[in-house]
Amino acid sequence: MNLAVKDIQHNLGRFALTVFGIGMLLMIVMGMGGIYRGLVEDATLLVERIGADLWVVQRDTRGPFAEVSRVPKTLVYRVLAVPGVESSREFVFHTIQREHNGKPLRMSVLGLSWPLDNGKWLPLIAGRPLAQNHYEMVADKTLGLRLNERIKLGKETYTIVGITGGMASTAGDGMVFVTAWDSQAIQFDTPSEAIRLERAARKRRSEASDLFLSQPVLTEQLSRPVAELPAVASPQLSAVVVRVAPGADMDTVVATISTWSDVSVFTKAGQEDLLLKGMVDKSRRQLGMFQSLLTIIAAIIMALILYTLTLDKLHSIALLKLIGAPNRVILGMILQQAIVLGGVGYGIAYLVGQKIFPYFPRRVVLTNADLLQLAAIVLGISVLSSLLGIWKAMRVEPNEALMG
């Protein structure tokens, strides 16, 4: 006769509620681990998927994800000329928040180096990659945009031609993919009034400049966007992504580019390392600590529940001792209940989590390794938390069955 099961059956309602509560608690622990893993995955997602061996960024910056990095467009061709480089592409990346259908829409915009890169590498779940160099956009499903939906950004309207799954920036914002040209247009969009004011200001400055006085033809250039003014052009790319040719020595390529005084170069691993140790490190550690604390709290709560369940059974335990039940029977009863509590709680956590986590604003990634690790922790907690109850049960004297 299994006393643990009999006791559970007798108090099924209370046990079910308790186990559901434990399940919810474990679901939070599981979710916290999933958010932690999601944060790490999101942080390295783009670096992983874009398929670049090297990242060339503005000198002494840590790349387009960690801080503002600006490099000239011509860098693409300079890098391409380095022996061992198979391809080099523009990389434009920035985050914007606009209003769409009356709601704020925050997205990270990634410019693809058209025509070399049309987004074939993107994990599309619907639609297609970009097919033209303007006004098309691939968006992540988390943004809630539908295929063929049109969205106005700046002065242009873009059509959603593809939907990706699981493409989020390090901040958890859904990503959109357009050509680098469109990306810059979105990034540097300026209101008409601001343009008029800037033109007037330039004109006024030019009237006091010897350069414009001696070369009046230059004044024709003043009406062009600031980003296009040839003599004072701002760096327009966030980075240049490089693929090293098969068989070429990456260290040699890195060494060559590193000698240039205007840029820094990172390998893919270096960029990932920067992301994990820099950008998301604090969030990662905070989540990790929070998860550890939650695990400890879950252990304490489970121990208290099992202790209370044992206290409720003290009379029965004394009676069992009185009729000669060996300690292993009593110990087994408490331990089995602890394991059932932990096991069923874990199952509830997993099942409810599967339904709820997809609705979390940030990605929750449950890996098999993490789930197994948590299962082992829950088993450990169950056994450990039953010790308090077992200790109490072992101290019960059989003559206590005769009292009260």
Partner: protein, 242 residues
């Protein structure tokens, strides 16, 4: 050492506390109860009846004295000479004033568990439990939990559990307190039947004067000591004159 004795106690003394707070709950209690003998233990509250019963039941060891069960020396003062819990399981059956059933087990399971703990197979234990409940007239309540049973039914289930392993000693503390006179008498007759059939020694603490004639011997306790023991013959004649 007399092997015909189901229970033998030699100079049992139980002292609680020490110095100024010392209380002697039982002093020099010596009895010999034969196999098949049914014994009543009488006395006012605080006389030491329960202390004696729990000492003999190997639940609350004495400070001094010896307890022999079935001719085996089990306790020498407070020192156990055997694994008491295992010994209790095999040789002693308990029935208490309150039925003391395990609340999360049905009536049948309360009886069955005692046998399973003693090594019986679940199937045999189940069949025997149903037989015992049948004998005690509660077979129809076999699958009900204790909370669904009346006080009398609970007591009969507790008796069935006490008899489950055919113990050599049955200890009962006011087992008829929750029963009407008819059921009370039935229970005492049952103890008597078991004692005679299985050769068990039965000690019953009781205040129920209606059932005294069932006992072979009646011991009376006062201030922790057994002050007299009379045979059933004397009891019956005493009852006849009162």
């Amino acid at each position: 050492m007399n092997e015909n004795l189901a229970i033998e106690t030699r100079g049992l003394t139980k002292i609680y506390g020490s110095g100024h707070t010392e209380v002697i709950a039982m002093r020099d209690a010596s009895v010999g109860i034969r196999r098949g003998e049914v014994v009543a233990l009488l006395g006012p509250s605080g006389a030491g009846k329960s202390t004696f019963l729990t000492a003999v039941g190997l639940i609350n060891p004495p400070t001094l004295g010896q307890i022999l069960i079935g001719g085996t020396l089990v306790l020498d003062g407070p020192i156990p000479l055997l694994n008491l819990r295992s010994f209790r399981r095999k040789h002693i059956g308990y029935v208490f004033q309150k039925s003391n059933l395990i609340p999360f087990l049905s009536a049948r399971e309360n009886v069955q568990i005692a046998m399973e703990l003693n090594g019986a197979s679940p199937r045999n234990a189940r069949n025997r439990a149903l037989e015992l409940l049948e004998e005690l007239g509660v077979a129809d309540r076999a699958e009900n939990g204790p909370s669904m049973l009346s006080g009398g039914e609970q007591q009969r289930v507790a008796i069935a559990r006490a008899l489950a392993n055919e113990p050599s000693v049955i200890l009962a503390d006011e087992p008829t307190a929750a029963l009407d006179s008819h059921r009370g008498r039935q229970v005492m007759e049952l103890f008597r039947g078991v004692a005679h059939e299985h050769g068990a020694g039965v000690i019953v603490v009781t205040h129920d004067q209606r059932t005294l004639e069932v006992f072979d011997t009646i011991y009376e306790m006062e201030d922790g000591a057994i002050i007299k023991g009379v045979s059933s013959q004397d009891t019956r004649s005493t009852l006849a004159t009162t």
